[in-house]
């Protein structure tokens, strides 16, 4: 968690304008502030990606970008907010790149086969999840997969809000600052995201074992 006081961020510019105060952050200061901030940045990256794998790379890529754009940053403004925006841009770019790489020709046979695979996969999952009392019946890994699936179905901002709140116990003031949204909106996102996760888990529990395809 960043130890610095939460201030309003300067508007992060990716276009190479000078910092408003005309001062430049020193390398040591950058390293120190980065060390204070990486946990929040990592959570934002994980929220954007919907996964923890890749989050570390995104934060490091963002650090490289930030170092190259250090002249843009006004040291009197909020470092965390500035870095958070760079992390979000970097992660969005990465997600788009991956999406483009995944685009492939639609072979009807392949599509049909993958649908069939999906069905079997889902049937196996529906048979598992949690008992009436919410107890885990099968292995934890499958339960975690359900939660991740539900998490990925959320809006990116809601996902980031939830991860910052649950994983880091970030105050809403900080969530609001790093994601550039009002505090009340951050709180609504967290509540709605939590509700969506539990409804997803309970809905799976209520589905008949074996799935509808049999």
């Amino acid at each position: 968690m960043a130890s610095e006081d939460i201030q309003q961020p300067n508007t992060p510019s990716m276009a190479g304008t000078s910092g408003a105060s005309g001062q430049r952050l020193s390398a040591d200061d950058f390293a120190r502030r980065f060390r204070d901030s990486w946990r929040v940045l990592w959570c934002i990256a994980a929220g954007e990606l919907g996964d923890r794998s890749g989050a570390e790379d995104i934060v490091q890529q963002a650090a490289v970008v930030a170092l190259e754009r250090l002249d843009d940053f006004d040291p009197s403004s909020n470092f965390l907010a500035w870095m958070a925006q760079i992390v979000r841009f970097t992660a969005k770019n990465e997600v788009q790149k991956v999406r483009r790489r995944r685009t492939s020709a639609a072979d009807p046979v392949a599509i049909d086969a993958s649908r069939s695979d999906d069905r079997e996969h889902h049937d196996h999952r529906h048979a598992m999840p949690i008992s009436r009392a919410g107890n885990l019946l099968d292995d934890q890994a499958v339960f975690d997969d359900h939660v991740l699936t539900a998490l990925r179905s959320l809006d990116v901002v809601a996902r980031s809000c939830l991860l910052l709140r649950v994983v880091l116990d970030s105050p809403y003031k900080e969530i609001s600052l790093v994601l550039g949204i009002p505090q009340g909106t951050a709180m609504s996102h967290v509540d709605r995201a939590r509700r969506a996760l539990r409804e997803h888990l309970l809905a799976r529990q209520d589905r008949p074992a074996g799935g509808a395809s049999r």
């Binding site: 390398a27 923890r52 170092l67 009436r132 509540d191 888990l201």
Partner: protein
């Protein structure tokens, strides 16, 4: 009906966020005892939170990818590109490993391939471990995870009756912890999969030291490995419940305070 359900959702959201007053908390606990669907919602919510903690464990560190050097002639810091910038890190993985690692990797692959061939021929599956299996949690791992989140409980019981009821609902046997000046029960957490699906964890504090207790049914005859790393484990059976106490104390602190709860407390 819809309003009532909406109200319960709001209560659960506030509970998870630590925004409930004592009265609201008691009301929610009452509701969960009376209505199984509320209890299921609360349990699903707690488990989802625990799952998020597991799935999004922070890395130990995210180091800066570049070395920043102060050039003797330049007025400010100069940036040197990393040897393996993040985007190329995966490609650079092989380059940075010594040759003996390739040999070890090749040997592992060869062994795996051989095992697979033998396995296919014999029609069994004993040689190939499941790739989907994850290593099970250990007491030390659970302790470390709790430490990472500053031993903050997932939920608390406000009195002995709630405490005993929770144990009774989960394990079929109730117990309470007697009050003592040097021990404070902080609350509960989960350790899914350590001993079984119902494993519960009690967090306690004694003279500034954190104590973790794992609870299981004694008839299950399961055991957990001692955590090591200077931590001690003590165990005791009370009223059909098996408690493991883990701390750095040489003697058990909480175990001697555990007493069976009257059956009435454990009832629904």
């Amino acid at each position: 009906m819809t309003d009532a359900r909406e109200n319960i959702h709001e209560l659960i959201d506030a509970y998870l966020d630590g925004r409930l007053s004592k009265e609201q908390h008691a009301r929610l606990l009452d509701l969960s005892r009376q209505d199984h669907s509320v209890a299921a919602m609360m349990d699903a919510a707690r488990r989802a939170e625990a799952s998020l903690h597991r799935s999004f464990t922070l890395p130990a560190d995210v180091p800066l990818p570049t070395s920043i050097e102060r050039s003797p002639t330049a007025s400010g810091p100069s940036l040197r590109r990393p040897t393996h910038p993040p985007a190329a890190r995966k490609a650079g993985f092989l380059r940075s490993r010594p040759r003996w690692m390739y040999a070890a990797a090749a040997a592992i692959l060869l062994t795996g391939a051989l095992a697979y061939m033998l396995n296919s021929g014999m029609g069994g599956s004993w040689l190939i471990p499941s790739t989907s299996a994850r290593p099970g949690p250990t007491a030390a791992g659970v302790y470390a995870a709790l430490k990472k989140k500053s031993f903050r409980p997932a939920f608390i019981c406000e009195n002995d009756e709630q405490f005993a009821s929770f144990l009774a609902e989960r394990f079929g046997h109730g117990a309470v912890i007697q009050r003592a000046d040097n021990v404070r029960i902080v609350g509960w957490d989960y350790a899914d999969g350590l001993l079984g699906e119902a494993t519960a964890v009690i967090l306690a504090l004694s003279e500034g030291k954190n104590i973790v207790l794992f609870v299981d049914e004694s008839r299950c005859k399961r055991s957990i490995a001692p955590p090591g790393n200077g931590m001690n484990m003590h165990r005791a059976v009370v009223n059909g419940l098996l408690f493991y106490e883990i701390s750095d104390s040489a003697e058990p602190v909480v175990l001697p305070l555990i007493r069976p709860a009257p059956p009435i407390l454990g009832g629904q």
